[in-house]
Amino acid sequence: MAAPALASLLLVASVRFLQPLEGAQVIGVTTLEAATDATEVDRVEFFVDKTLVGVARKPPYRVSYDFGTSLQPHTILVRVRSHGFQQEEVAELHTAALGGESITVNLIEVPLRVRAKGAVTAKDLTVVEDGVRQTISDVITERPSSRFVFLVDRSQSMNEGKLAAALEAIDVGRELLRPGDTAQIIFFNHNFGQLQDLPPASRASALLGTVEPSGGTSLRDAVVSTVTRERTITIVLTDGTDRNSEISDEAALRRISGTNNVFFALVFDRPSRFLESAAQNSGGEVRTVFAASVSAAMRDLIDDINGRYTLTYQSSGTKKGWRAIRITSRSGVKVLNARKGYFAE
């Protein structure tokens, strides 16, 4: 939006921000105000992230701007036009993101499958990340609301009823989701489409029953395409073999092993090493199924997911890359399955 460049200016007068100030956090409707000692001012223009958002003609030079509901960093620029638009001066400031830009916040969620006689609390567990003991913030018994992504293989080898059985299994599984959960579906073969929302009362088998198995398999590419920062439980329904992905096992594992994604798979054949690693790293699981048993397996799986604890802690780690997590428990509590680590970027 033609925000002026600082370098091209004649600084014959001065302009400064009164509000906000450098490094401030801005959210919602906020006043932008500047002061200048320039004379014969035509107008004062305010730009947010290079877009003109307001003009003030008379002092006090101030306008309001709605920064929305999320705390993001912004660049705000003020330009004073004076002497019949022949002269201009500018000032610029940067606002801060959530928590300030220099602090890295790592709230780690670790889904846990636990066998215990009673309810499990933070006192029953110990978390060690890269050899350093961490302070547990909470152990939540109720699974938090999550985004469920059903990643469905539609390659040629999913014929003979496997694809149809997979869609029916999704319908069965969705009946067990909780209020607040959302569901999306994505099909993949050698290519993958867009994520589609599954509206609450809809049935995947009815909505998408015309999809026919065809083409090859790009499992890793498809898995990577679904990853977001949202808390996500991905359930892959596939017959296993990945023949056409561009991304390597290692690169895909790196991309998906953030802190908020857990991978499960119901596999009609032998699971690939990638799927096993993805599930193991994230605290998920791989189960082998048949067309006749996939719905029951899905029911068991969602039951299991719903029954898991979620342990949270604030990581004290500072290094980038893989951070290994080890969970231990006192006697009488057995941790059956937990996230093995995550990639910090």
């Binding site: 939006m1 033609a2 877009t51 003009v55 019949g84 638009f85 073969n189 065809s214």
Partner: protein
Amino acid sequence: MRRAGVVAAMVLALGARAQTRIASDVEIRELEEAARGAADFDTKVAAQISLGELRKERNEPAAEQRDLLAALQLARNERDDARRDHHLPRYAVACAWSGIALAGLGRGAEAFAVLEEAVRYAADTSGIWNLYSVAMFRLARPEKAIGVARISIDAGERKMAARSTIRGHLDLNVSRFALAQGLLDAGAETAAGEAGDLLRAITESLESDAFASLRKTLERREEFQIVAAPKTESGTWLAMFQRSHLRLAQLYELDGLEEKALREYQAVVTRRSDEPSALAGLARLASDPKERDRYLIQSLDANPFAGDVIAEYEDHVKSGEASPAGVSGSVGSRVRLAIQQIHDHDFRRARETLAALIAQHPGNDVLQSLLERAVPAAERPSFLSKPVELVPDPLEWELRAVMSLFADDKLSPADQATLDRTRFSGKATFEGEAFEHGTMRGVSFRFQQPVQFEGIAPTHRRLRLVYRILGATAVDGRDALLIEPLRAEVDP
């Protein structure tokens, strides 16, 4: 004999020049690997020719030429080696590949000479004649192409009579397809009947018991790749399946036999879900606008650079039924966005969208041609040069010109001073619940903040405004004018 089979296999795709077929990244990746890593001439030259064809379908002429030149060089080297070794069959095959490459490069006389040389030393080889006919199609010599295709079929039938094999069946179908393609391209009305019969015979043959084991292998291996010069029997079967069903579908569509056309397009998509020409065909035949939208999106995702599909999508956008495209997402989605932006005269953003795409896909003709259309009118509104106090009802182009001049920082201080003094009047339609943003003559605008007009209920959506233009801003990701309202009244 093996070489002749390979040669025959390549006829298919090259003959299908009228179609926009998939040029997926999967095929390009695999072919580039083959062209780089293969030790034998056949694989390398077939990969280079196939790459050239894929580039052609993606409207990337520089890359196409590069691949064809590489194929030509390979073929010339092989020809020289074969001549030195006194190996005539090898020599003939290498000449034929040279001919195909030269035809692709538009060098007709050289192609003709080298193909004549090829058939001189391999007059009984069906595959060599096939290559000859394909080259003639490429050079827009349909009569010659048809004649040569018939020789190719005769040679194939003689071979099959001597010994029937799967490869022989495939090669014969390939030759028949080349003939059908040539008959259709020649455009003679009487020829369409023969072409249709040939295509139906091919599709029936592909589903026959002769290919049962091949079909099973295809399914087991999940093969789907369609290339111009397939190296395997399964690859040839796949390419032929796609070509013959597509061509038949187009023939039915042309004759108004929509049900039959639909079935043929569906057959293609059932085997390969992202076949752009078939998806575009399904879009054309869809009666429901939402279904048409879905198929066009899928088709442009599969090949975002197909000129004919882009033209169809532009018509779809004009109809008002196109769903909005996103800034991020597939290349197809961003091409759709650029088309929508051009349609909305949002030229600056269209140029931004296209510049990002061109950086990713340099040398693409379709993107360049879209970019050429994303240029605003160069005129300057007269009120900038001849100041007036009030401009009543400025035209759409005048408002967009001001917006572009602001956005591109092309207003002089004198222009800005003039504009700052000038008042405008016009009808505004508001969006949302407050008087904050909307459109005037289809051009987006917004106020600095929501405004209440004395005596006007916020339920009114259409007002007549007197206003000043402050600059260029954005509303929901679209370019817009930032305006300062001076007076408002309800537009009756």
